[in-house]
Symmetry: C2
Subunit: 331 residues, 2 copies
């Protein structure tokens, strides 16, 4: 029997959460029985999408992916030292039975990253990278010459979307939320970059996309997204992979003009998209991304905060969209 | 040279239009030159979707389909007496050159209807029927056992959608706006029918679709549609083929909760859909519908108003959703 630290919801979010919405508790982790193993978290992901209190009732652990190392095992497929990734939530140590509810656990071995940090399995080589890859290709279906708009472009997903769209021969417009983010997006090869907090969106899109937007990869939702629809071309495709603007509101979403009207007249496809690491095409997708990384065609940024006690702080930083790239907590 | 009567926009719609938004004028129709023909309207379609003033600037003719007869011709493919359908707008007589802008004209010969009235080419055997057929099958992709919800179910499109969904083995729920409409929908075989003006939508859907809605064929938009999204299953499909609730508002759409949040968390596909009679699959689609009609599996209703001067009145009736089925003006 060992102890684990776990972050739980102390208070459901009502508007912008603060550190008081979270509480650190101790849990007991039993020794592994046949087929089970215990792992210790090395890196944890904080993601506004995965960790909103919509997804966990009061008192339960916050949800999220982690990369961890097997420390005690009764499963020969997972010897001590194996690096795995799984959806264990904000926990420092977990007992895992790979056969129990695999859909919820989302257990994978961290692939060979040729010496790169295993934390990449939470970012460009994990759910965010694969979401970018498959959401762009399967929902937005970009063709060479298309104009692709990415909101939340400096995020772990958006930054990869823009780079893959460039690989596919598209013109890429990115919205970021700060000068630092916009500068980084320019360095990644985005054709046009705007700080959406400072420009008039209509003017920006009229100048950057005079022939309209064909593909819109959206992580923001809300009013920005509704305005973008007005600039889309007939038969445009919208991949909704996040809703940053709405995570704090729960069921009380702010009101805005309905997108159904634009959807009808422009025959738009607006599709919610998320990937699971259980998906059969997950490994194939990250193999392609790794190839592009090694060819220097896909770059990434990690913001690493040290210490398990930093989880709420890192989450609030992610929620406020304050830094570019993927935010990781290193235990 | 002959005269034609034409209805034009006298005043752009601002909220609910009235007869004063329309004006009847006379136009001159030149005699046909080589390759052209003149046709006289027999039946005209009034459709909130096609004939809103969004689509026509002040002083221009209202848009819409008609079935007409060739009366003077210099085109051997269209001898006098040929029945055609085309997008000539609210005009009693038109000069047509089949080679000029075929995409805008949408010219077709009325198919052999085995003695049935050619007005069907404006309803169940025309754009509304084919929209129902292809929108349901291509966008909603219903599987046997799915729960299919149809809003505006007593309309020319919705009534066909529900019947095809029954043919495909689905459970079908229809929203209509009056007792008369709901009774008709029941007679068509809909499993559950609600007057959405009189019930609590959440209660109605909880009881009729306890396992959630898989496919939503929407002609209404606005708040009803936003509420329905809350009842949809993961990976549900929404075909937006009309937006009755929004036609009067132009750019000033009323505010409502953004559907992006539900779209993301349920991975919904929300797709705007309309068909053109120029589409390669148009004839094949109506051949299938005609087969079902003759097998008594697809029934229809026509509300025929007589007299070209009735066009605005018939349009206002359609816009208010007062009668079931397709509203046709017979000249």
């Amino acid at each position: 029997m060992m102890k684990a630290k776990t972050w739980v919801i102390a208070k459901l979010f009502d508007g912008e959460p603060t550190e008081s919405n979270f509480r650190l508790i101790e849990e007991e982790v039993p020794s592994p029985k046949q087929g089970e193993f215990v792992c210790e978290a090395l890196y944890l992901s904080v993601s506004p999408y995965e960790s909103s209190s919509d997804k966990a009732p009061l008192g339960s652990a916050l949800m999220g992916h982690q990369v961890s190392r097997v420390t005690d095992t009764k499963n020969s497929e997972y010897p001590v030292g194996t690096l795995i990734q799984c959806y264990s939530g904000w926990r420092s140590r977990s007992l895992i039975n790979p056969k129990e509810n695999p859909e919820a656990l989302k257990l994978l071995k961290v692939p060979n990253l040729a010496g790169k940090e295993p934390s990449l399995a939470l970012g460009v080589m994990g759910i965010p990278g694969v979401t970018a890859y498959r959401g762009l290709l399967e929902v937005c279906e970009p063709k060479a010459g298309d104009t692709v708009l990415v909101s939340g472009a400096a995020g772990a997903v958006g930054s990869v979307v823009g780079q893959i769209a460039k690989i596919k021969g598209c013109k890429v417009i990115g919205f970021g939320g700060s000068k630092e983010k916009c500068d980084w997006l320019k360095s990644l090869g985005f054709d046009h970059v705007f700080n959406y907090k400072e420009v008039n969106l209509d003017d920006a899109l009229t100048s950057a996309a005079p022939n309209g937007v064909d593909c819109f990869f959206d992580s923001v939702g809300g009013e920005v997204s509704c305005r973008v629809l007005q600039h889309m071309n007939d038969l445009g495709r919208v991949c909704v992979s996040g809703a940053m603007s709405s995570y704090n509101y729960g069921d009380k979403q702010p009101l805005m003009p309905s997108p159904f009207h634009a959807c009808l007249y422009k025959r738009l496809k607006i599709q919610g998209f998320s990937v699971s690491s259980c998906d059969a095409r997950f490994e194939e997708s990250r193999t392609q991304i790794f190839k592009w990384m090694n060819e220097d065609k896909v770059k990434y940024k990690e913001e690493v905060q040290e210490g398990f006690e930093k989880m709420p702080k890192a989450f609030l930083t992610a929620l406020k969209g304050k830094v570019a790239g993927k935010i990781i907590v290193k235990v």
